[in-house]
Subunit: 340 residues, 2 copies
């Protein structure tokens, strides 16, 4: 057998019409008599018949696949969200096609286009929108094109496109964290702000500032260092912060992986956290819950973001794009001990 059996093969072998074979093998409202039904089923099994999804997609108009675009699948933030999506997709009998932009935000639009070619049922855009209006415009165009077919689109990020969106309360979370840190006695902060074009980073910084402002605390501009949204980004940024000899007692990294980089850098500079410097992060990445000192952070239920996004995209479309807010919760741990 160097070519897989087709429905026609099965029908011929079973001595029935194509229509009957199709009705038996691939769900239909129509009933088929027990006799024929049985015959079709057994011949299909004998021939190893496997429906050609492409052919089905052609006549049905869409494929039972949902496309997911993330920035970096090796980053636990994204892989956790992806896990949530896949969990739900599995329940719905959908396959998940996953693409990674490798942190080049302009690739997102390319992948949406690729998914349009595939006529996938839905696309989920996971990850921060950017501040670049041109990128946004291009993405919006592709999204509209995709939707003008039968496709659905949702995002896990900020609400910048007219599509269903699961938005993480980055500002509120960061604000709450700031307040808690102040309550613990911290007053002088440094911030590892991440890339300035990523709204997630921007929002978390803004929320943090806002929380401090409530207590009359401000952060000097040279206490805020940008950098990559990665462990190494956090490491480098922390080095820069120390080089500036700023007078701070607590470093807020806008995500956990950067916070871990920061702790490593502090150690390398003989300022081991938390005694010489407190550190806080954001996300509560599961894999990082065991670093020492245990990291104060803001918990986001990442898998749930993925689940919710898939639910949105599979459910009835609303008359107007919906927004689901995802709560965050401050988790205080050893990396930010109460001061004295």
């Amino acid at each position: 057998m160097n070519r897989s059996a087709t429905l026609a093969d099965v029908a011929r072998e079973a001595g029935v019409s194509l229509a009957t074979a199709s009705r038996v093998l691939n769900g239909s409202t129509r009933v088929v008599g027990e006799q024929l039904r049985e015959r079709v089923l057994t011949t299909a099994a004998e021939l190893n018949y496997s429906a050609n999804a492409a052919a089905q997609a052609m006549v049905r108009g869409h494929l039972d696949v949902v496309g997911v675009v993330v920035h970096d699948i090796a980053d636990p933030y994204f892989s956790s969200i992806a896990a949530g999506v896949m969990e739900r997709a599995e329940q719905a009998g959908l396959l998940v096609a996953l693409s990674s932009t490798l942190r080049q935000p302009d690739r997102e639009a390319d992948y949406v286009a690729a998914f349009r070619r595939q006529r996938v049922r839905a696309v989920i855009l996971v990850g921060s929108r950017t501040t670049d209006p041109a990128q946004l415009a291009r993405l919006r165009t592709e999204v509209e094109r995709f939707e003008s077919g039968r496709g659905r689109v949702a995002a896990v990020s900020q609400r910048r496109l007219p599509i269903d969106t699961v938005v993480v309360e980055n500002r509120a979370g960061a604000r709450a964290l700031a307040e808690e840190l102040v309550a613990l006695g911290y007053r002088r902060f440094g911030v590892l702000a991440g890339p300035s074009h990523l709204l997630t980073a921007v929002d978390r910084l803004a929320g943090f500032r806002n929380g401090l402002a409530h207590h009359g605390i401000t952060i000097d501009d040279d206490h805020v260092v940008g950098g990559e949204f990665t462990r190494d980004g956090g490491y480098v940024a922390t080095g820069e912060l120390l080089r500036r000899k700023v007078d701070v007692s607590c470093i807020f990294a806008v995500n956990d992986v950067m916070a871990v980089g920061a702790m490593a850098a502090l150690r390398d500079h003989r300022m081991p956290p938390p005694r010489r410097m407190a550190v806080a992060g954001f996300d509560d990445i599961a894999t990082l819950r065991d670093v020492t000192p245990r990291l104060t952070t803001v918990r986001v239920d990442l898998e749930d973001l993925g689940r919710t996004a898939l639910d949105l995209v599979l459910g009835e479309p609303g008359r107007t794009p919906r927004t689901r807010m995802a709560r965050c919760e401050v988790v205080l741990r050893e990396s930010t001990p109460a001061t004295r």
Copy 2:
């Protein structure tokens, strides 16, 4: 526009035949005159034409998609390998469909079947084979069916199926680790062995034992504890080991995430590593390189496993299934200090 433009639409609008339009828009060896070429291109752009991949798949017989099956995408081990696959796939212009068995090995065969329906070009099975012969038989059947179409299959794991395989030198790596630990002065070991049905776990344990045997050291059976292949599995297993009050000075966890769980458990039992107990892992997971004390482990270039697997599956098939050995390298760090 509530239905996307088809090739026929473009052809009609541009006043050319379907054949010509197809040749212009979707690569072909045939040359089309500059005039027509131009006309087709502009009308396609105007109409927002996007080739229907399903239709192309039907006539070509396969989709430009590669399926990947992992055990748990949220586990950094798998997400790193997946990142490698995706990196290469991107270069080859392929989409990646990712499925997670959620650690139920019997689901692998199901996903291979699903990918067969999709007529994806290739499938990569990532993750340990098991010791269950029934599971293996079922998987083999599905793999053969898949291959009897035009599909290619490769695995990242042990060589148990007649397909191209990237095999991690688990035994050699674990043996080398054992020898290094002995050289550091350790003699009494406990092992967190993971699930006994996973060959990866089994092989690492066997290799470790083998390395110790070279030095006349054996491990008592009650110094070996099974458990889940996860952080919590490591935590629980360590608790069990301590409860047994075995006399050991070093714990070898068959993967890093378990090792991290072990360190947490040790701390909770007031036996902080490495002073009260040394710990070693396996994999050198990037996200875990910053735990303290830094973890002694065996480095595997995970992303490279993924890249290699994709290369195998896209390259010319060998006359007979090929095997690519992936080297491991012992990395000694602070979690296993030299004993005086």
